[in-house]
């Protein structure tokens, strides 16, 4: 098997997916896509990426199954606790000066960060807020809406909840049944989940805080630029953007429109 052949198969598949389904993976990390396609080959018992292409072109119900494999869905509750500590210290006090707050969790995956933010907003006494949680992958959104996670995630989430300055016990917010936990419905009453592609869709609302973490690391710089423009357009003056701890605005034209609030935790504020 030649590396060049596999890389070509991936380019052809990306083109086929874009032409037929309007999902645009052209600006995604190829190495990540290839690893995910290799997992899909095993799952669907196929021998090559060309066979994947054959199936998406000729079998109507195959693509929705494939899409679940193509996006990175790894996320965890209270990941990087200092980020959330910094939000409480630097962002929430200013958000509270607005009569109502709109938050966009862009690339929410299976919803762990949505739960995290809902809990912290509740503990901060913030009630008038709306979270738009968006993702390109409809199956992720279904998981996120259910609010059910394997019980194995809890020890680490509880530890990070305390490190993030949580005021009670994480167990106040979920019920355990067999090997799963289900987070309280009240955490979801101000959340709107919707299908949104950062590659192809436009801004849908004005917002006061956008959290988009470990999404842009899979995008090339042109797509990152597109996303930063969307964020700038959506955020009103003086409001906030939070990125993953290896993500940065420094290579973007948009950096001039933001000031750094917390470099270590990658929190920025729109200036104009």
């Amino acid at each position: 098997m030649e590396a060049d052949t596999v890389n070509l198969e991936i380019e052809l598949l990306i083109q086929a997916i874009y032409t037929k389904f309007q999902y645009d993976f052209k600006h995604y990390s190829r190495s990540s896509l290839r690893r995910r396609l290799e997992q899909a080959l095993i799952k669907f018992n196929l021998n090559s990426i060309s066979e994947v292409q054959d199936k998406i072109l000729h079998e109507r119900d195959f693509f929705p199954k494939l899409i679940a494999y193509l996006t990175v869905n790894t996320t965890e509750m209270f990941r990087d606790p200092t980020y959330f500590l910094s939000l409480k210290e630097n962002v929430f006090p200013i958000l509270q000066t607005f009569p109502s707050i709109k938050i966009w969790v862009a690339g929410c995956s299976t919803g762990e960060e949505v739960v995290t933010l809902s809990i912290l907003l509740k503990e901060a006494g913030i009630k008038k807020y709306l979270i738009y949680a968006t993702d390109i992958n409809p199956m992720n959104l279904e998981t996120a809406k259910r609010g059910i996670y394997p019980v194995e995630v809890i020890p680490r989430a509880s530890k990070n909840y305390r490190l993030a300055g949580g005021q009670g016990s994480l167990s106040d917010y979920y019920a355990t049944a067999y090997d799963s936990v289900r987070f309280d419905e009240s955490l979801y009453k101000n959340v709107v989940f919707s299908d949104h592609s950062l590659s192809t869709d436009s801004v849908f609302s004005e917002t006061h805080f956008i959290s988009c973490r470990n999404v842009l690391i899979y995008f090339d710089r042109p797509l990152q630029e597109r996303v930063f423009k969307l964020f700038r357009e959506s955020l009103i003056r003086g409001t906030f953007l939070g990125l993953g701890n290896k993500e940065t605005l420094q290579f973007s034209e948009m950096k001039h429109h933001f000031e750094v609030i917390d470099q270590e935790n990658r929190i920025f504020r729109k200036k104009d």
């Binding site: 030649e2 590396a3 990152q224």
Partner: protein, 194 residues
């Protein structure tokens, strides 16, 4: 000609990485990427440790960064490091592989697809089996493979795991790996003068 060297290590790795750092010389065509398993919390001190006695620039890899010649890129803690087919570096927060993030397999595998027969993979001391499958992929794609001699390794699990599933081009002691790197760098410098 080798254009990329990828190095993977775990337990015992800091020591040997510091020794290997002294072997590199500027070539104007060679890039290096390193994964070492570290605790996910806290800063990665490897770039400054290696950089202290290395002729090449040593830095933590940043996402979206094009690979530069004569530079050693070290994976940050808690992210996979990948090399794209267009030779840009990316990071990934995908699930740990072999209980490891960064995973050596992820780096080696991406390097194999990005550099084909122009990559050399070096697998060193370590206490788990990460890296073995990735080294095998490098070989399959035509690259050169080196495993540290298990009897020379502080922890032999990692080199032994590779030897169980493949026959690398070279099984070398630390001293021999240093010489190998030196010869690649000098071969490159002759080439660069032509």
């Amino acid at each position: 000609m080798i254009e990329l060297i990828v190095i993977g290590t775990s337990a015992g790795g800091v020591d040997i990485l510091n020794k290997l750092a002294t072997a590199f010389a500027k070539t104007n065509h060679l890039k290096v990427a390193v994964v070492i398993h570290l605790a996910p919390e806290g800063p990665n001190l490897i770039p400054s440790l290696m950089g202290d006695h290395c002729a090449l620039k040593v830095k933590e890899a940043e996402p979206g960064e094009p690979m530069q010649n004569d530079t050693i890129y070290v994976a940050p803690s808690d992210y996979h490091l990948c090399i794209e087919p267009n030779h840009i570096l990316t990071l990934s927060s995908e699930e740990p592989l072999n209980f490891s993030r960064p995973s050596i397999d992820v780096l080696f595998d991406s390097a194999a697809y990005a550099y084909g027969n122009k990559v050399m993979g070096i697998l060193l001391t370590g206490a788990n089996h990460d890296g073995a499958a990735g080294l095998k992929t490098i070989q399959k794609m035509g690259g050169v493979t080196v495993v540290q001699n298990p009897s020379d390794a502080e922890w032999d699990v990692m080199p032994k795991s590779a030897l169980q599933i493949m026959t690398p081009d070279f099984v070398l002691t630390t001293e021999e790996i240093i010489n190998k790197i030196k010869s690649i760098c000098s071969e490159g410098s002759i080439y660069a003068r032509e």
